[in-house]
Symmetry: C2
Subunit: 393 residues, 2 copies
């Protein structure tokens, strides 16, 4: 077992060598940064995992095509407009955007990935984007925090994390605060490393990590049409131990996942649900998601209401898991058992106190086997409603 | 095709002959009515459909046992306490409650059904319930509105509906405003008729009706541990045309479903989602539920925000339905097409106006076949959060 790698977050993140960045404003919606680029000076081994939405946007389709050969050099992101459900024009616009960036970098369009996030159903303002690119020159250095800010929509703060693996650095950024229930995919999460790693190893470790980090996050059960997680490795730092690299990648993605959950739309509390003694990881994750997604559990956490029965209710929703026997289930909050023990008034007061903290940990033991999983989410608040009742206007 | 039967709602509902009712307060939580009984003077042909929750409560288990012979005479409901997750004591308490009511009615305990709704994880206050039943005498008449009020928890108004089928009357009541995503079951919904109908016909028509009414309702995706829908027919009015009876039953249950959605916790608007040209009814219902359950769609409806892209997003979540082609999907609001047509600013204003009304109708045509389904839900509001952040305390 490797030690858990040290993770640095926020503006203090380290930056892998051989990457440069750009962040600017093309007037997509307002005067805030809305176009950004992360580019490697040399070609990268690359992989991506994308939304399973039937309405996956043109950016996702383009990334899938451009990653078919397992390599890429740059990713450009437009925020404040998702370019989704925009018909054939949307496909042409995504392609043109990749071409504009390729020209800027002296790369091939097929080396450029496109990320897009924001309102659905509006074409890109292409004239403004074209005019903007006529003014852009690529800076010679990398400012990852600036890019992490430029890809935000309703996020209140940028999400950044970095860790070391031998001589290599692995640095990730992510955005997303609503429309988040990734499944085999995620919001926008970009991870860059200067490690040299083979394509097969990279794909294997990235997918395993995404599955136990971003795919264990749910803010509101809604799945974005633009979810994309991308990893680029340019090899500048030379080869490193694969186990060490994988552990660093996991630490970075887990940190980003917790940062995303904490900054869920309107969130005031982080919810961590651990399901143990499950038949398999899939069952553990299914039950954990049922709990973390229950609006009634989320509201109870918000109000520090010791209504633990809602956790039991949420477990009960997994009725296809007929091997779960209510008699064998154990539920606790931060180590404090609430079921099957029946709490008296004093116990309820104790529980209310536990639920008053900024992180509420809910543990469910199923008694159906030896597998476990952890998922992250946040409370449901009036602020979530306010943000989303008036988003486009 | 039969004419749609006329439905009467509220305190004006007609009452089928041969039923008597009781409603009182046993001090379960406060001074409001919390114990109620509907009883037939003669035995009834009966059927019930119940929650699929793994944590189904003792009341549900008891009803399942007592309905095995297809008959029942009475249903007693305790509100403000669900008697769920209360261990073996909960089973004994449900049984004792049935016995107390049987003694009052001069019936067998196996003829009595038990409904229970309220907070999970608290034993019934049995001493208070026993003391209460020593004071009860059964009135000689039926006051359905009083019972509909006594079964309420966070409901803001009682739900009642009646319709005629020949010489018979069919009358239903229901409660429920949160923890509502019935699936093969429902909240508490009781329907009574004086029609004479065979057990086989009754079961067949009841299950079909539940499937297209209560099972097409979702307020918050949370499934109660106490969901019960029960139909009792005492035959006092003699036999009626089965088609006519079935149509009246459907009309009553549909009316109750719409009343339930309209009174969803914190709701200010009714959402009706119609999915048409689907491969089969299951697909239509799945897509319709994805739309009506999307918190982002619900928030947009609340704020009359013309963010129609969220409907497309929600359809996209049904990724196992690989026959759905985004190119063939059509989305409209109350007949006003929003996709694939791309709305300009004037179109968005028009849509915002449509979404300002008390009922928002969303139509999705899938283009995969000829089936259709309608589901009902409500908007997501700050009031939902307020109600549920502070429920037990």
């Amino acid at each position: 077992m490797l030690d858990m790698p040290t993770v640095t977050t926020g503006d203090a993140v380290e930056v892998p060598r051989g990457f440069v960045t750009y962040a600017g404003n093309a007037g997509i919606k307002d005067g805030t940064p809305d176009v950004s680029i992360v580019a490697s000076l040399t070609p990268c081994v690359a992989d991506g995992v994308f939304t399973r939405s039937l309405f996956a946007g043109p950016s996702v389709a383009l990334c899938r095509r451009h990653l078919e050969d397992g390599s890429a050099r740059a990713i450009v992101t437009v925020s404040k407009n998702a370019n989704v459900a925009t018909g054939p024009q949307g496909d042409r616009d995504a392609q043109e955007l990749a071409e504009l960036v390729a020209r800027l970098l002296g790369a091939a369009p097929a080396e450029v990935l496109v990320g897009s996030t924001g309102v659905i159903g509006r074409p890109y303002p292409m004239e403004r984007i074209r005019a903007h690119f006529q003014t852009v020159t690529m800076p010679p250095e990398a400012d990852f925090p600036a890019v992490a800010r430029a890809i935000m929509t309703t996020d209140t703060r940028p999400k950044l994390a970095s860790a070391r693996a031998g001589a290599a650095t692995i640095t990730g950024m992510a955005k997303g605060s609503g429309m988040i229930e990734p499944d085999m995919a995620t919001l926008l999460a970009y991870v860059f490393t200067d490690a040299s790693v083979g394509g097969h190893d990279l794909v294997e470790m990235f997918r395993a990590v995404v599955d136990s980090t971003f795919n264990c996050l749910s803010i509101d059960t809604d799945t974005s049409t633009s979810d994309s997680a991308v990893l680029l490795a340019n090899g500048v730092a030379g080869p490193v131990d694969v186990g060490e690299l994988s552990a660093a990648l996991h630490a970075v993605c887990r940190s980003l996942t917790v940062q995303l959950a904490t900054d869920g739309e309107g969130a005031t509390k982080l919810i961590e649900v651990n399901v143990s003694s499950a038949r398999d990881v899939a069952q553990a994750k299914r039950v954990a998601k049922a709990v973390v997604n229950s609006p009634l559990v989320k509201c109870a956490v918000h109000g520090a209401d010791p209504n633990w029965g809602r956790v039991v209710m949420a477990v009960g929703k997994c009725w296809h898991d007929t091997d779960i026997d209510p008699q064998s289930v154990r539920v606790s909050f931060g180590g404090f058992e609430v079921y099957p023990r029946l709490l008296d008034d004093r116990g309820l007061d104790e529980l209310a106190k536990l639920m008053g903290s900024g992180t509420v940990e809910i543990d469910v033991a199923l008694g159906t086997g030896g597998a476990e999983a952890t998922v992250w989410g946040c409370d449901l608040t009036s602020e979530y409603v306010h943000i989303n009742a008036d988003y486009t206007t």
